[in-house]
Amino acid sequence: MGKQLLLENINVQGISTLEVYRANGGYKALEKALKMQQSEVVDEVKKSGLRGRGGAGFPTGMKWGFIAKPEGVPRHLVCNADESEPGTFKDRFLMQNKPHMLIEGMILSSYALGANVSYIYIRGELLYVYHILEKAIQEAYDAGLLGKNILGSGFDLELYVQCGAGAYICGEETALIESLEGKRGNPRIKPPFPAVSGVWGRPTVVNNVETIAATVPIILMGGDEYAKIGIGKSTGTKLISACGHLAKPGVYEIEMGLSTEEFIYSENYCGGIKNGKKLKAVVAGGSSVPILPAELFLKTAKGEPRLMSYESLADGGFATGTMLGSGGFIVLDETASIVKNLWNFTRFYHHESCGQCSPCREGTGWMEKVLHRILEGHGKQSDVDLLFDIQSKIDGKTICPLGEAASWPVASAIRHFRAEFEEYVNHPEKIKDVKHYYNMRNLQPTA
């Protein structure tokens, strides 16, 4: 096992309480940060090479550096806890077990950014985690870790949690901001970027839960030390949500650069494929990243071992590579049907499209219908090319990345598993037991 920076002490009894968290070294990073200059905290994060853990992998220090600082206008830090990408459940795991780590990270990050009111936007389904956070925040207030003059530093911070109400799109930072403002989760057209005009038109930084939590060990050990962990530009540790056909699914903290083979097969991690089956394909970073067949996932096209890092997973571009994304690691064994799996993902994106811009609104539904037709045994010869063409018409034409998130799985599944699609179209009799629900819409239950 590699270094455990985020999941350290996660199994300690009562670690979710302030008392136990502090007894295990909690809030030491905050004490240290508050004695530093704000810019020094930013510098440490820059030096650490930390990259956004929500999926995009954008350097966090650089993002912080973009925040506008107009005179007299409050700034805000907003934590993106709208974890909804299929295959991803690391933030939920961290928040429910170590809520104070997120709160500590929020306080020191807010200090670095000069924000005096910060928000944690958590998805509505996680109401029970919302209550855990509310309780932890109250503990922090009672201990003088939040509110006025935190630990005698003169720094004030109000921290609030807001819950959403069921919309994947609110994980997109501008949709999240809209939702925080009490509106429909329609992504904004950029520019302006949130760093200039975010929540209520004020400069805002939106960071993922894991990103903010990672600032705690970074301050404790120093940015340079943190940057020594990992490989190349993929520094530090990453939480991976491993799921699907695995012997031991769960949340693992890995040092960047671990080989994909070790991650899947080592007893320290996923322990191999469930029931001794063979690995067929992996979706490495949440449902939206390109799916890769086993051989390309374990070794790059050049024949080098594939590593768990931003660069290695992306090696070969979309032709033979994928992305680290949010670390939602979905494993499919030899029994899984790529076409059915793709239909399921596509239905998800169809259901979650906000409906604002036409390519995504219309295209996601169309792709779902074509895939459903194939699965019902009514596919046409032309359907595979049609699907590929539809996704290409969505990709890059939309306001927000949901369009791409819907396109990439389709493009990659056809790229790597075309024969399977054609088999379904040419031999519909082979499609056994099509078990799936075709709910065009069930946002609203009927009475």
């Binding site: 919309a167 429909r184 057209i189 169809h350 259901h351 979650e352 499209s353 906000c354 409906g355 604002q356 811009c357 036409s358 390519p359 609104r361 219309e362 295209g363 996601t364 539904g365 169309w366 219908k369 049609l386 290409s392 018409k393 890059g396 034409k397 939309t398 306001i399 065009m440 819409r441 946002l443």
Partner: protein, 327 residues
């Protein structure tokens, strides 16, 4: 002032001008089509994606091309920017894709649609669409709702441009309609049966690019190309009273706002002018309207004689107006 080159034509524009506005200043031959952007609205654009263009050079300072097509209506020009609209083959392919999406669920009921003949989607599909559809599933349908005595809502025709919602936001404090649900079942609705009535509600008919919102008092009265547009005015306490009357013989079948060459109203008009004054005697007639946006209607070239006389003057006016718009 930044200089931008669109389809090889350079123009200098005030700072803050969008690519689409700059293209319109150059002229029709380079201006991208727009289904949701509306220059008279303070907030609009960005949704439909028909106005996408390729930015082949970001700016003089940073010449890197933009990797994806951008919505020209929401992208400000930078000094030294180079844009390809009709000169980029890929851009035209991309736009064709967008048009296909817009038409995907749009019913082919043009023969019974009152908007036919002045429909922007008809123009758009004629110019950028293909003759065949690749979509062979049922088109979506909605429960019909009644939004009052003046405006007819045909939700199946709606392309969700948000113009009517933005118009209501701009013209009234009491917007009662909006976009419900999400994704491809989003719909314009009042949610609870309620009519849309405020003094300027009729303007949502004019801004609608398709036949989703049409004039109930004109319903099935005539095809628009059989009616003759005439500019007229009256003293009105609520609005400027500058309208367009649509005659069939001696009868005024319809009153609308006057629209410019981009199909956008020049003045908002009140419901009183629009729905309650349909007698010839209510109006001071100014003369035949010049229409150059919609091909079907402009087949009646009867106004050309007058137009020729005024061409020089009109162009001057248009130019000075654009300067005002920019500010």
């Amino acid at each position: 002032m930044p200089k931008v080159t669109i389809d090889g034509i350079e123009i200098e524009v005030p700072k803050g001008t969008t690519i689409l506005q700059a293209a319109r200043m150059i002229g029709k031959h380079v201006a991208p089509p727009a289904m949701c952007y509306y220059s008279k609205l303070k907030v609009s654009g960005g949704y439909c994606r028909t106005c996408i263009v390729r930015v082949t050079k970001g700016s003089a300072a940073n010449p890197t091309p933009m990797p994806k097509p951008v919505a020209s209506c929401r992208t400000e020009v930078m000094d030294g920017m180079e844009v390809a609209n009709y000169t980029s083959e890929q851009n035209l392919i991309d736009r064709k894709g967008v048009v296909e999406f817009l038409l995907l669920n749009h019913p082919l009921d043009c023969p019974v649609c009152d908007q036919a003949g002045e429909c922007h989607l008809q123009d758009l599909s004629y110019e950028n669409g293909s003759a065949n559809t690749r979509y062979d599933f049922d088109r979506r349908s909605f429960e019909k709702i009644d939004i009052g005595p003046y405006v007819q809502l045909h939700m199946t025709r709606c392309i969700l441009c948000f113009r009517c919602v933005n118009t209501a936001n701009q013209l009234t404090e009491k917007r009662v309609h909006g976009v419900m649900n999400r994704g491809d079942v989003s719909e314009i609705s009042t949610y609870i049966t309620k009519s849309i009535d405020n003094e300027f509600s009729g303007n949502i008919i004019d801004v609608c690019p398709v036949g989703a919102l049409t004039d109930k008092t004109f319903r099935f009265k005539s095809r628009v190309w059989f009616t003759k547009p005439v500019d007229a005015n009256r003293e009105c306490k609520k609005c400027a009273g500058k309208v367009r009357l649509w005659f069939k013989g001696e009868d005024v079948l319809r009153v609308t706002g006057r629209k410019d060459q981009w199909g956008e109203v020049t003045d908002w008009i009140c419901n009183d002018c629009r729905f309650e004054h349909k007698r010839y005697s209510d109006w001071n007639i100014e003369g035949p309207s010049h229409i150059d946006h919609h091909s079907v209607i402009s087949q009646n070239h009867y106004e050309l004689a007058k137009l020729k006389l005024d061409t020089g003057k009109q162009l001057k006016e248009l130019k000075s107006k654009k300067q005002v718009d920019k500010k």
